[in-house]
Symmetry: D2
Subunit: 416 residues, 4 copies
């Protein structure tokens, strides 16, 4: 089977498990909300993203795509997409950092009217290197917590001159993608990359945002004893009340058997922590960038480093302690040897949020200024309604009396 055929088969499987996208094609395949627009997509390029790209094309877009991370690109999916009309992709698995930037630049050179971004990579590139193209940009949508944080940093420096929707911050995104998608795929890949058990293990989860909650709850659901580290007192308390141990990292690492980072920040594990870790500890990153674990410092500290299993690097310190790093501290659910990225249903929903947010942004661009906006609640509800329908779930609606009750305030109306 050639690459295009292999890619098609992968797209078929993904498509058959992405019912929200089927609905989007049904609804917007005729309406063509993106007609005449260049839409740039940056993301991990594999089958699920492919279905998203196809759906944008079906809705009238001229799509240009590139890989946010080269290591996870599936070349057969790229080939199958490039064989479709209205789609142009610049992505190849495993290219160097320089080549990767070159591919991004070729993408941005299409002067996109819309960017549907991952970690704000294409947007930052456009603003930083191609300021002359920014005028073409009607707006952008961002799907990660890391990217939203980055957009806010740009906004503080006056660099956001177009409307940007923080898609990551919608309940339909983070309650599902971060909690369930990251939670399950990080742990499944960790389990298979190491061939170790979670039951009974002391697992430290750094960060109790949505990703951290997912990882922590599901690790506990398999019998791990979980310690949460946080910098936010309220998240720390929430973890405490849900039955997790809470400790500063310097203390948590001492008993740790597995440590998973989910913070979106750098150096969450660093020299001072490596020095206190027990022999045999396993480190993995489920946050966006590898910088959460200071692997540079670890390599410097190590007397010897070697790959002990596919995807696992063992750093042996001078005192004999071994520290194992999974997938070079890259996002474990994308870079582990067994990695498939997020589960299909999760990306169905997340990309649908990107799609619908983009449609909304276009329709309301006259009234939107140059700022990072939360996605309007109605968009979130629309996706939720479609998702419910695809699941065959029915829910209640308020009666007229109940609607009136919600608007009441006098005691005699409230208590009857």
């Amino acid at each position: 089977m050639n690459d295009i055929e292999l890619g098609r088969r992968k797209l078929d499987w993904a498509r058959s498990h992405m019912p929200i996208h089927s609905e989007l094609r049904r609804i917007h395949g005729a309406r063509h909300p993106f007609a005449g627009l260049v839409v740039a997509v940056g993301s991990h390029i594999e089958a699920k993203t492919g279905v998203f790209i196809e759906t944008l094309a079906a809705a009238g877009a001229e799509v240009v795509f590139t890989a946010s991370v080269a290591a996870t690109t599936q070349d057969d999916v790229v080939a199958a997409l490039n064989a479709q009309p209205g789609i142009t992709g610049y992505a190849r698995r495993g290219v160097s950092a320089e080549e990767s930037v070159a591919l991004h630049e070729r993408t941005v050179a299409h002067k996109p009217n819309l960017i549907l971004d991952d970690a704000a990579e294409l947007t930052a590139l456009l603003v930083h290197r191609f300021p002359e193209h920014v005028a073409e940009l009607l707006g952008m949508c961002e799907q990660t917590a890391t990217g939203v944080q980055r957009l806010h940093a740009m906004e503080r420096q006056g660099l956001i001159t177009f409307p940007a929707y923080a898609v990551n911050d919608t309940p339909m995104k983070h309650d599902f993608d971060n909690v369930h998608g990251t939670g399950e795929s990080a742990l499944a890949n960790l389990a298979l990359a190491t061939n170790l058990l979670l039951a009974g293990k002391r697992v430290v989860v750094a960060g109790f945002g949505y990703c951290g909650q997912g990882v922590a709850q599901k690790a506990k659901g398999w019998g791990a004893r979980v310690t949460v580290t946080e910098v936010d007192p309220r998240k720390a308390l929430r973890a405490h009340m849900l039955g997790f141990d809470v400790a500063p990292m310097a203390q948590a690492v001492r008993q740790a058997e597995v440590i998973i980072t989910t913070t979106g920040n750098r150096d969450v594990l660093r020299r001072e922590h490596f020095e206190a870790m027990p022999d045999g500890v396993v480190l993995a990153n489920a946050g966006h960038f590898h910088v959460e674990i200071d692997t540079g410092a670890l390599a410097e500290m190590a007397a010897a480093s070697r790959e002990v299993r596919p995807g696992i690097t063992e750093h042996r310190l001078a005192d004999g302690r071994r520290i194992n790093v999974v997938a070079g501290a890259e996002l474990v659910n994308l870079a582990a040897p067994t990695a498939m990225g997020h589960p299909v249903e999760v990306m169905d929903q997340t990309f649908a949020m990107q799609f619908m947010a983009a449609v909304h942004l276009l329709e309301h661009r006259a009234s939107l200024g140059a700022a990072v906006y939360p996605v309007p609640d109605e968009v979130d509800r629309q996706v939720a309604q479609i998702k419910l329908r695809t699941l065959g779930l029915r829910i209640d609606t308020l009666t007229d009396d109940q609607r009136r009750y919600q608007d009441s305030w006098r005691s005699e109306d409230i208590i009857k």
Copy 2:
């Protein structure tokens, strides 16, 4: 032992389990932020509220209090409080609805400068019946979801002419009080009122807000099979993804063995539902008001009604089916025969939020308009910091590099 002495003993137990209030007394006992102000408190009047009232008095307030619900008043605590300087209470257990209104009116007659309210009862009374006293009011703080909903209804009708803080909407309130406080106390009282097991039972939880989540998760944590009903598609999906069955109420009731309402709305269980319930079903309310269950309709439908156990009314329908209502559909954790209200630690935190929100409102009243406001995040964080300290929990702080990283956006700064 006389009433005052009994009340003191209850206050002692509560005080010794309310460490945040100890901190508030330590910090504000000298600062006297409420000096010279009349502070009206409406709430369930028992030991935990008593400690809150004492703490307000210690912080300089002239406190006047009344019971939001007469059925739950503990007269010995009222007596012990009334014996303290700076505190005046109008509450007596089990008084009629008319007497209750009269007690509320006597409270409001003190022309409060601040109302710390429960379900917005005193505020609604003031606005509705004593418009002439509204000018004295510097602001109010509301601790329940029901009350915040009511304030928004008043706001839509232009009746909010003072700043109002929606304390219920803070993470430190609803993540703890609603989820854990309501969750645990509703189920413990239900279990003992009925002497039935949760394990294996089909339990229907109406509403998946914070209270509903707490009840549903903890019922599942004891082995119940839980069905969630919702009117909000996103909450319905969240429940679905956490492993709950989701269904419209008309369908859910058919297999139900226990049904618990937590919606804040009326007639969540009504005639059409009673008609479909199986024999022996148990109904309980964990929302604010008894109106969630249309007990009037149920009594009309019943061929006979009788108390089969303390706190359980059995309604026998014409076809022989028996429908059991716990505590007359009043809030089960306050009105069941074994009820103690919320756990002590929960009220320690919730009342601390009321206290700190009130201090903040006073300090910032110059810049606050006439509106319902979310409580500023800093107040929430302050209470969280105190709570962490009382638990002896330590957490991490960001390094300088990490702070800088949060403000970065260029690829070379983000990915290193």
Copy 3:
């Protein structure tokens, strides 16, 4: 309402939630397996036991009953039972230890042919004090772990001269009664007796037998952080693999906020442990006898002791630390102020096991020697079948091919 009428109402509620007993009455009400026999029942005497006693009488027995623990006797139920033909009871709430023994002796004086026992109390009394009546005894059935342990001790000393069925050891008993019944009722009563929260608490559970597992799992299910102590390495490992912390008691008590004993042994908490406990700790016993906690030593160590809430004794040590004991270390689900004993459905099943084991013992007494026997599996299955039927649950049956497959061993038959 007089006592008899009150007792009847309690029996009514219990009976309507004991569907296995309804089946037993339907099946054995005509067969009369106990016709002509004196059957002695020792147990907590309240409504559920009452229904059991009624059912024995309906099956032809001349029942004589007494209370295994005087503190839990419900006099109105005693009255309602004594008003029924074929039933004679000797029990009164709150009698002294001496009076209690006297009531037991009057029971044993009926020369029972069968004893259906609780903690082997009546059997031990008969053997120890009335050896002359032992000849009348056809056999006995024991429902608690403590009692079975005691029977084995008697057997080692040659004192078992009749067949004894260890009903506690059946899956249908301990998987339900101990795990779910003790688990839920111990925690619900603890929660209401203290008005404290479980979420976030450090709870130590002593013993990881069936009761301990139930308490530990359900405490975890509400968000407690649970440490298990054990003397058996395999149970300790099982707890470890399910995500519990495991530690020796001397270490576990140091961080404990709540400690619950479930071991069936004495002095599980003793002087050395009290000395290491933090201020404010709450101790409760969910094992059979109060001896699990050495309250004598604690009272000796205390500078002062007082009841701080109904059912909670605070012992203040010389250094100011306060140690709170719930219900005087008596079984918390029976002796706490809110206690109702086990949930109804649980006792329906446990007493059904006693009933069916007794029927089986009678039918097979010719072939049974003088020994403590496990209850034959078929009895357990019979009760399971009835229980399934009452729940309306259907399950699969093996096909003929599957039965044959279970008897195969050749590779070609096994793998096909």
Copy 4:
């Protein structure tokens, strides 16, 4: 790197996570309990089994090994083992069924004195085809539920003429290997093979033995809604009480999104069930043999069958419904594309049980007859003690008073 070197590296990783085996080598490396004996090992041949084989050799055995399932053999591990003295292996990945039998026959031709078996494959072969070698056999140990069932079938037919230890039936085996090992590895492989989410899914688990419990609990721990099917009423009730839905398979399949078999029997999913399954359902087997799912019937029913993803066969029925089978219904944690078999720690413990059972069998062979025996409790305890030591877990020991208490039976001694 050549095959031997690759195999060595895999053995290194496994060995460093198998601390019980380190202890076994330390204890028995000098004692040589297997000196002079031919020990045949049948199992999946990969690194963990390799460490077990090395440890047997270190304890004096002349080890001969073969693969119980050819599809899972790792040739590099075979090469690295064959390069060690005292070890001879007959295994090659992916050989045909006939070749596989030939390899087994070569193994048995060594006239083993002990068989440490997997699904009783070598034992059945020896008895069936090489009756002349049976006299050399001092005994055997069996590690799977399927194998123990098969041994009992042989015993009923008088074919067990040597002592056989049912290692699977020990708590230290099934509470860990089956519950946690099968549970985690089956679900992690299923998740990655399908790239689907467990959260929210309706998952049917066939069988609620130890494997089924593990799969069901851990699927629930990730948010799946789990239906259990059973043929045993007590196991069905246990599942019910733990909050699982229970239904006959014919009913359960109708809503199923994922179905996992764990029964040890054949045709658990068969034509009548395929006919009722919804479109897109995923079937996987976590029992020992592929026969649990009647894939033959499914292939016959299908209008078309194709591999839609690596390791997933889609059968399209005439009416368009698609039924997906993972790994051809072979054991999903061994045959899925990402499969690594059981987690390392689990096999450390299971093989340690085989090792210690074998040592015990040899030491007591004079007193053992020709029968299938449970492994004596002391062996189980010994392994538990070693495991505890390797985890650094300490537990309590009974005091003298407590030991005496366990032997008491008189009321005055029991209650004090």
